[in-house]
């Protein structure tokens, strides 16, 4: 187990480094010459050289990459050009919206997936199963942002049940209420996908010999499904749920823009539109880093639940 842990954490660390390199290349190496942008096209060669030195551009980019990673790890994420403020508190306040949003969506998705998947797996091939599967196929295909638009229009604008958008800030009375619709538009497609996973893995388990033994003992069907089967089907389901969390963070990036939520996704889009490269670099690094870390945690959890996964 220790060996597996070390190997996985080491691998994730390497992946994080490659992720940082991707971000750095996209933001620092490709976009051209920031010194030229700072001093303008008519500047004298001396001013231009001074700006290059000031921005640290006279050193080769691998050196800049190492110092960028060092500064990032040390907590110095630079200043945002658009907001004229340090990047770190901006990104962290975005995270304080995006993470609860993704968490809420995951909860809703599981709430949808477990009962639906179980119902469908109860009689694979039956009409109830076919109906559920068809419904789930439909749900998986729904674009999150379209669902968001429809939900805002119907629930918020027409029926005035929930806030249509924006976020009042944590501690304000409608904070959670303003996350409900965005979370729902994320949860329906993902939940439908999860439900199909629940169905598939539960159907697999229900075909096992020990389920037949449980039936032969005369146990009630509910107990067979809930206790004997669901527990064994849970390992792949939890893995998928963990990876779904990573997908939800990504999906939140679009949905935040539908609802005008000040999360990481909104920040990233604003940074791209305003060419705020320091903000973009940190926000992108945090999103991608989050995905790597969530995958690592899921992987380790998998090994903890299922000893067979530890060797390899």
């Amino acid at each position: 187990m220790i060996g597996h842990l070390v190997r996985r954490v080491g691998g994730a660390g390497l992946t994080l480094l490659v992720v940082a390199l991707f971000v750095f290349v996209a933001v620092q190496v490709v976009p051209g010459d920031p010194a030229r942008v700072v001093v303008g096209p008519d500047a004298s060669p001396e001013d231009y050289a001074a700006a290059r030195t000031r921005l640290g551009l006279d050193t080769p980019w691998p050196v800049r990459f190492v110092s960028w990673v060092g500064a990032f790890v040390a907590g110095d994420w630079g200043d945002s050009l658009l907001y004229n403020r340090p990047v770190r508190p901006l990104v962290l306040s975005g995270l304080a919206v995006t993470l609860p949003l993704a968490g809420l969506a995951l909860g809703m998705a599981l709430l949808l997936a477990l009962p639906l998947g179980t119902i469908a797996a109860g009689r694979v091939g039956g009409w109830l199963d076919m109906g559920t599967v068809g419904f789930l196929q439909l749900g998986t295909a729904l674009p999150e942002f379209w669902l968001g638009i429809l939900l805002v229009g119907l629930v918020a604008v027409a029926w005035r049940l929930l806030p249509a958008g924006g976020f009042p800030g944590w501690g304000e009375p409608r904070a959670v209420a303003s996350l409900v619709l965005p979370a729902l538009s994320l949860a329906l497609p993902r939940g439908a996908y999860l439900a199909r996973m629940v169905r598939a893995s539960l159907a697999d388990v229900l075909a096992e010999d020990y389920v037949r033994s449980a039936r032969a003992k005369g146990l009630p069907e509910l107990r067979i499904v809930a206790v004997h089967a669901l527990r064994n089907a849970l390992v792949p389901i939890l893995t998928t749920a963990g990876l779904t969390l990573a997908r939800l963070v990504a999906g939140a990036m679009v949905v935040e823009n539908v609802f005008g939520l000040p999360g990481l996704g909104r920040l990233t889009v604003v940074a791209v539109e305003g060419r705020d490269l320091p903000l973009l670099a940190s926000a992108a690094a945090v999103v991608a880093g989050l995905v790597v870390i969530v995958s690592l945690v899921v992987d380790l959890g998998y090994a903890l639940l299922d000893p067979r996964m530890r060797e390899r």
Binding site: V18, V27, A141, M253, V272
Partner: protein, 275 residues
């Protein structure tokens, strides 16, 4: 039998969704850019899907916008598929250090949601289609790389590969001629599913104003423009979303049907019934 139902439902959904694009290859009823006097009109005989706030015909805009969406999706799946298959296949065949390095890169690429890649490239290259297409190709690459790697790894141990090697065939020839045809079906499934994902991602990006630039239409951008008028004027927000959802649904159904018919292990799971 069941899988044929899925397959044909998928084909019908996809054809329905793409009908403005398909018809648009020979005939587009209105100029998708020209402003008209009827704003936010409901569907009628002259405007089968109504008009948007500028009086532009929704059917015609779906036709022209869909052309770009499908082209970008196809292109990115082709590019990502070829590059990913080559990388992953080679890694799986030779194994060792090269395999380690490739898979580490692929894992890192997997950590980037398509959206984030496109946003990064949008910042680097400007908001045009090139960044979106590249991002979607990079997004598709790791999935193909994993499928190809797994396939090559398992097949390189088979006896017919050994026979080919014994008869003096070179590595490259064995990979292309003897192994690759055997993993064509999982790659085909991946391509179908990847196409739906790419279509969805492209529309999300055009919703975020990346990709096709105004006044040219894109499905996601049409939804963004229609958002403010929903639900009072629902039509401009209904049809592009419906087209997108149907197209993705169709591609997913086709992918699932292909997977079921090509993968005997999964077919067993589908068939089983608790007695």
């Amino acid at each position: 039998m069941r899988r044929h139902v899925g397959l044909w439902t998928g084909v019908i959904c996809l054809t329905l969704a793409a009908s403005p694009v398909l018809v648009g290859l020979v005939w587009v009823p209105w100029d998708p850019l020209s402003l008209g006097p009827e704003r936010l009109a409901a569907p009628s005989v002259s405007h089968p899907m109504g008009t948007d706030w500028f009086g532009r015909d929704t059917w015609s805009r779906l036709a022209i916008g869909g052309r770009a969406s499908f082209a970008v999706a196809l292109l990115s799946v082709a590019a990502g598929g070829i590059a990913g298959t080559a990388l992953g296949g080679f890694a799986g065949y030779v194994g060792g250090t090269w395999d380690e390095i490739t898979m580490r890169l692929v894992d890192a690429l997997l950590a980037f949601p398509a959206l984030l890649l496109a946003l990064l490239l949008g910042a680097a290259w400007g908001p045009g289609l090139a960044g979106v297409a590249t991002a979607l190709a990079l997004f598709n690459l790791p999935f193909f790389a994993r499928v190809a790697r797994a396939g090559f790894r398992s097949i390189r141990e088979r006896e017919f590969v050994l026979a080919a090697r014994a008869s003096g065939a070179r590595g490259g020839w064995i990979m292309v001629r003897h192994i690759a045809p055997n993993i064509a079906s999982p790659l085909l499934v991946q391509a179908t599913v990847g196409l739906g994902a790419a279509l969805l991602a492209e529309s999300s990006l055009s919703y975020l104003r990346l990709g096709v630039q105004p006044p040219y239409p894109a499905w996601g951008r049409m939804l963004r423009e229609a958002q403010d008028f929903f639900p009072h004027y629902p039509w401009p927000a209904v049809f592009p979303g419906l087209a997108l959802a149907l197209a993705v649904l169709g591609l997913n159904l086709i992918g699932d049907a292909l997977r079921d018919s090509l993968d005997p292990v999964l077919r067993r799971v589908i068939r089983l019934r608790p007695s």
